[in-house]
């Protein structure tokens, strides 16, 4: 499961860029910081590679493997 | 002209500091009166709250900071919430209608507002010039600095290739202030 803590996100886009299967996109919503945070589109394609988590500078993404 | 103390507040990226510098410059260099501009930083490294002050007066300005502003420009809810209590009785508040929810105004306070961001985006496709619209509005409402001086100060301080756009935004602000 890929969880995004939208209010921690600063909208840098790194997770989106680092996702090998390109399933993350910016949502249209703004968070409390006034930035667009990412959302996951086709979670079933997720490889659980954890890139989105590992590269997020603001610890805003969590990939839970056990729930695969 | 009596001394006017103006506090401009908002968040990083709204051009609040630049606005205050333009106001000060317009007054002191072009309107040939006096101005002091100061700014304080928030605790966060980047972004976050911005608070900047301009005092404008005909007489020499000795005390350089503001304890109770005559005018408060607030461009975010937090900026408004944190600052409206400091305002002098009979002070003026100027906000962006879409960003700030003004409630429970004390008696005597004059309240102006405009949709600076919305207009900037809608009419000029450039959110970044919302602050110019605010300045134009401010000028029209307060007449503390002359429009001419404002235009000259803007010309000194913005990149020349964006000057026209900025002046356009300024004019829009003046118009909605009328």
């Amino acid at each position: 499961m890929v969880q995004i803590n939208k209010d921690a996100c600063k909208g840098c886009g790194i997770c989106i860029a680092m996702c090998p299967v390109k399933i993350l996109v910016f949502s249209d919503e703004l968070n409390s910081r006034g930035v667009h945070f990412p959302k996951i589109t086709q979670e079933e394609k997720c490889t659980k590679c954890e890139n989105c988590m590992i590269y997020c500078p603001d610890f805003a993404v969590v990939v839970k493997k056990d729930e695969k | 002209m009596k001394k006017v103390e103006i506090r401009l507040t908002g968040v990083g990226g709204q051009g609040v500091v630049l606005s205050s510098v333009i106001l000060g410059r317009a007054a002191s260099v072009y309107d040939k009166i006096n101005a002091v501009q100061t700014e304080t930083y928030g605790s966060d490294m980047r972004g976050g709250d911005v608070c900047t002050e301009v005092i404008i007066a005909e007489e020499r300005i000795i005390y350089p900071i503001i304890n109770n502003p005559d005018i408060l420009v607030a461009l975010s809810q937090k900026a408004y919430d944190d600052n409206f209590n400091d305002l002098k009785a009979e002070g003026i508040i100027i906000t962006d209608s879409d960003l700030v929810n003004v409630s429970s105004l004390k008696k005597g306070i004059i309240y102006y507002h405009g949709s600076f961001n919305k207009i900037a985006i809608e009419e000029l496709k450039k959110k970044a010039v919302a602050n110019m619209a605010m300045l134009g509005f401010f000028q029209e409402k307060t007449k503390i600095v002359s429009l001419d001086a404002l235009e000259k100060a803007i010309a000194d301080l913005v990149p020349s290739k964006t000057l026209d756009l900025n002046l356009k935004a300024l004019q829009i602000g003046v118009n909605i202030g009328k």
Binding site: - | V21, G24, S28, Y41, I61
Partner: protein, 385 residues
């Protein structure tokens, strides 16, 4: 400001830090070495462009130890040199500030003070480093220090700092603070012919190995490097000719006293104070730098209320205006000392007053925040009633 010719008066609305840099350039500064630090960095930013425009040099050094060493070296190379930093940088420069003093090297050192000690609060305005230039380097010595209160004074005092540095072959300090450094106000630039510049007295010809190039109470001529003058310069105790003697207390005694007298003998030329409404005052308020503006505002208010209060403001902090304060203490009943610290200059005021007047220290309610007018006014009323 680029390529200014100054045939018609220029006016600008600029930060104190930029005004300081402009003042340096107007004074002929052609060497700037520094290491970035809040709230002084704007001076370096500005100089990194301007120095090359005036055929000068800008270098960002590896640290502040190197910055002071660079400006001293450059001064001996004939440049008018300067550095700008904040408290932590001055702390690191102190050893070689002492070297600048004993080698009688003209240079200007700007401290845009921050809150603290240590890293502290970099953008909070504070007057915490007032004694540091005078007593921070080991040993016994004199320096000159000026405290501006506005961007205009950042310009004017920096010109003055260069003049005094050159005239007396000594490091001169500008003690500003972060609020003055970052505050914007109108600065009126003098026309070229309005700026009076002191040029250093230079040794013209080589005069033998025992030529007198140091320890003259009226300032010895400086042998600039590269002109065949065979300068013999050391930070160790030395004689008039520069020769070292590190064991004889008599030589040291002479060196220290001469260096000290070089400044103290010329106090009258060096010291500037500003007095307001003191003629009939019962109470004087002693303040400097930014605090002075809060004081002056309050004194105006108090005068309007009929209170007999005046303002005494040292422009020169070091050498301390001892005699002027003593005089003052004989005229008024009370001196209220206002400083944005816990009373650094206060003991010097008290010592100078020598019991003649009552000396009260009034700290700001919140260190780092400018006094509110009431804070001072209440004290005045309390004292007068």
């Amino acid at each position: 400001m680029k390529n200014k010719k100054n045939i018609e008066r220029k006016t600008d609305f600029i930060q104190g830090n930029i005004a300081c840099a402009e003042g340096a350039i107007a004074a002929g500064c052609n060497f700037f070495a520094g290491y970035p630090i809040t709230p002084a960095s704007e001076i370096a930013h500005y100089m990194s462009r301007k120095m090359f425009e005036v055929e000068g040099t800008f270098i960002q050094t590896e640290d502040e130890l190197a910055a002071i060493a660079n400006i001293v070296g450059a001064s001996w190379g004939g440049n008018k040199s300067m550095t700008a930093t904040s408290g932590p940088g001055i702390s690191l420069m102190l050893e070689n500030i002492g070297l600048a003093v004993v080698t009688e090297t003209p240079c200007v050192i700007v401290n845009v003070q921050r809150g603290g000690p240590s890293t502290g609060s970099p953008s909070v305005a504070f007057q915490g480093d007032m004694l540091q230039p005078k007593f921070g380097s080991h040993g016994e010595y004199q320096i000159i220090a000026l405290a501006p209160s506005s961007p205009q004074e950042m310009f004017d005092f920096t010109v003055e700092a260069f003049n005094k540095a050159e005239k007396y072959r000594i490091p001169v300090f500008i003690l500003a603070d972060s609020l003055i450094g970052h505050m914007r106000e109108r600065v009126d630039f003098p026309l070229d012919d309005e700026i009076i510049l002191e040029e250093r007295k230079k040794l013209k010809n080589y005069q033998g190995i025992h030529q007198k190039i140091f320890l003259d109470e009226n300032v010895a001529p400086m042998p600039i490097f590269g002109e065949g003058l065979k300068a013999n310069i050391t930070g160790s105790t030395h004689k008039e000719d520069g020769f070292r003697n590190v064991s004889d207390p008599k030589i040291m005694d002479t060196a220290i006293k001469r260096l000290s007298n070089k400044i103290l003998k010329h106090k009258e030329d060096i010291i500037a104070v500003e007095e307001k409404y003191l003629e009939d005052a019962e109470v004087a308020i002693f303040s400097y730098g930014l605090v002075y503006r809060a004081v002056l505002e309050t004194v105006n208010i108090a005068r309007n209320q009929g209170l007999k209060v005046g303002s005494f403001r040292p422009i020169t902090i070091w050498p301390f205006p001892q005699e002027q304060v003593e005089e003052l203490s004989k005229k008024v009943k009370t001196i209220i000392v206002c400083e944005n610290n816990l009373g650094q200059i206060y003991p010097f005021v008290k010592a100078a007053a020598n019991g003649n007047a009552k000396i009260i220290f009034l700290p700001p309610k919140i260190l780092g925040a400018l006094y509110k007018q009431e804070e001072i006014l209440n004290k005045i009323k309390e004292v007068i009633s």
